[in-house]
């Protein structure tokens, strides 16, 4: 009996470790495959600045990269202040009543909305209802819908993670609640907020479906090159990866495959940079705060 159990134990745990090993191999393979097949593009000078040259060599993804960063920054300009306010409310002001519950549920609901549903919503509100056309602004506003609940949660978590003594000490000294929040809690939570904001930005960087409906001109060749106008349309990198498949079959059109590989590798590298960058920046901010304290 006992021996049987022990054998069962050994086998079960070996199987479990085997499954994890298999998964790790798969995940490593995914990154290696993506980065190696796009490496020649990533290391080619013109890749980041030139316009695409589908069907021929030597083009780049400059406009797409520019658009991605443009839309990213614009949407963070909306999402950060609103989300931070919401997070402060949940962490510092909210009670446990029905109203708070409703607000929390709304935020959770928003967080689980499929990107494509937000895309259709964005098209209806920011494009059709305003009698305009797909644009960077419409895309950024749609991304704000997607990102807002994350910024709310990140802000709330950052504030909640602070030691209660900070809050209590400030209030005991006679500071108002807002003085406590703005002069004591937010500076102390800054490292966590920065880390969170970068991770949120990373999510926006790879978002595609919502932008496809609200900001894409659905073309590999027509671009609003490096303009500043938020009402111009333009594909982002992630959208481009999908449009490639539709407009220029990567396995058929010459060089389209190389482009698409480059875009995929760039997106993966960006995620790694965002992740590592967030951790490093967060840590640096902690150190600086400790020095000044």
């Amino acid at each position: 009996m006992n021996r049987r159990l022990r054998r069962q134990n050994t086998i079960a745990i070996a199987v479990l470790r085997g499954m994890v090993g298999l998964l790790v191999v798969l995940l490593v393979w995914i990154v290696v495959q993506l980065v190696t097949s796009g490496w020649s593009e990533l290391t080619r000078g013109g890749f980041y600045t030139k316009v695409p040259n589908i069907g021929g060599p030597g083009g780049g993804v400059g406009p797409q990269l520019y658009n991605t960063v443009y839309v990213l920054i614009l949407s963070m300009l909306f999402a950060l202040p609103i989300g931070l306010a919401g997070g402060i409310f949940f962490a510092e002001y909210a009670g446990t009543g029905r109203l708070t519950n409703l607000l929390r549920r709304a935020s959770e609901t928003l967080a689980t909305l499929p990107s494509i549903v937000v895309g259709l919503f964005g098209y209806a509100l920011f494009v059709q209802a305003t009698h305009s056309h797909p644009s960077r602004l419409a895309a950024a506003l749609s991304l704000t819908v997607i990102n807002l609940p994350y910024v709310v949660r990140i802000s709330e978590d950052a504030l909640r993670a602070l030691p209660p003594a900070l809050r209590e000490g400030s209030l005991a000294l006679g500071a108002t609640r807002w003085q406590t929040v703005s002069r004591v809690l937010l500076p102390a939570a800054l490292p966590a907020l920065i880390t969170g904001a970068i991770i949120a930005a990373g999510r926006v960087f790879g978002e595609a479906a919502a932008i496809l409906f609200t900001g894409s001109n659905f073309s590999l060749t027509a671009h609003a090159n490096y303009t500043l106008n938020p009402l111009d349309a333009g594909d982002t990198l992630a959208v481009n990866l999908y449009v490639f498949r539709i407009q220029a079959e990567p396995n058929v059109v010459t060089d389209a495959r190389a482009y698409a590989d480059g875009v995929a590798a760039l997106l993966v590298m960006a995620v790694l940079v965002f992740n590592v960058g967030a951790r490093l920046l967060g840590r640096a901010a902690v150190r600086r705060l400790q020095r000044t304290a």
Binding site: R17, G86, F89, L110, A124, A209, P250, V268, F274
Partner: protein
Amino acid sequence: MAGGQGGGAVTPPAPGRDGAAAVPGLRRRSRVIDQGARYVVFGGAAFNVVLVVLVVAFLLQHAWPTISSIGLRNFFTSTDWQPDAGISFGVGMFGALAPIVGSFLVVALALLIAVPFAIAVAVFITDTNPIVGERFIRPAVEVFVGIPSVVYGYLGFITLLPLLRHIAPPGRDGSGVLAAGIVLAVMIVPTIATISADGLYSVPVTLREGSAALGATQWQTIRRVLLPAARPQIISGIVLGFARAMGEALAVALVIGDVNVIPNIAKEGIGALLQPFTTMTVTITDGVDKLAINPDGTAARYMLAVVLLFVTFVAIILVRLAARGRRGSRA
């Protein structure tokens, strides 16, 4: 603040929290600011409600032509889907059964593949190999949560489809439910694994020690004590993975083939999984370039979005019920 320095008084400030009475003007201003800030942060939270209401209202409004003229019965039971025929012939067909079946089929397959691996990862991190798990596996898995879904789809398109082409019936390119299920599974394993791991962490240490002290093997402890104790959170993870897979559009669109015909499983058997098919999200996506010129087809696609929204809402309710179960079992 000024009041605090009032002569180093040992006596506590007078009741009514008025330590700063020395500078009444300043005090009043900060109180006004305090009140204003209260409204502003409340506004930030309330904005979430506004957005949810707007999303529901706009989707329903745009889906309404489908509900009123095609009818829900036709929409949910017919498989005749020619939404874009209206552009050239004036009459389209809007039976959406095929994409609805497709969505559930693909997601079911994805969960079937993903859940065992996700739970294995969670147990690995929390129990069998906590040091390696915490140092390497968890951070790695978290990075994979962040990889854009369209990248998974693209990778599936360039590596998985050629692979599946070998086992597919002649003339097929490997796209279909199997390819989509595998891509989605890879995409949601990190989500389910991290949430399940959090659940396993929150199991009280006494349960683990008690089980070991009674002579249970590690595997018995995992299976009979830890997994049941963490079940509510594991279910939450699975439901969130389900919702993510259900709502994913472009990754699936790249590998499923987008053909609006339900594969004949009775006739084709397993080969049906290698037949090009579609899902709700894919069907919505393929209308993106005709949104403005094809109002009927667009309305039908908005109706699909309403169905997606409904499924997502049900998923959220399930997560909440699972969480309630946790509180109940703790008490």
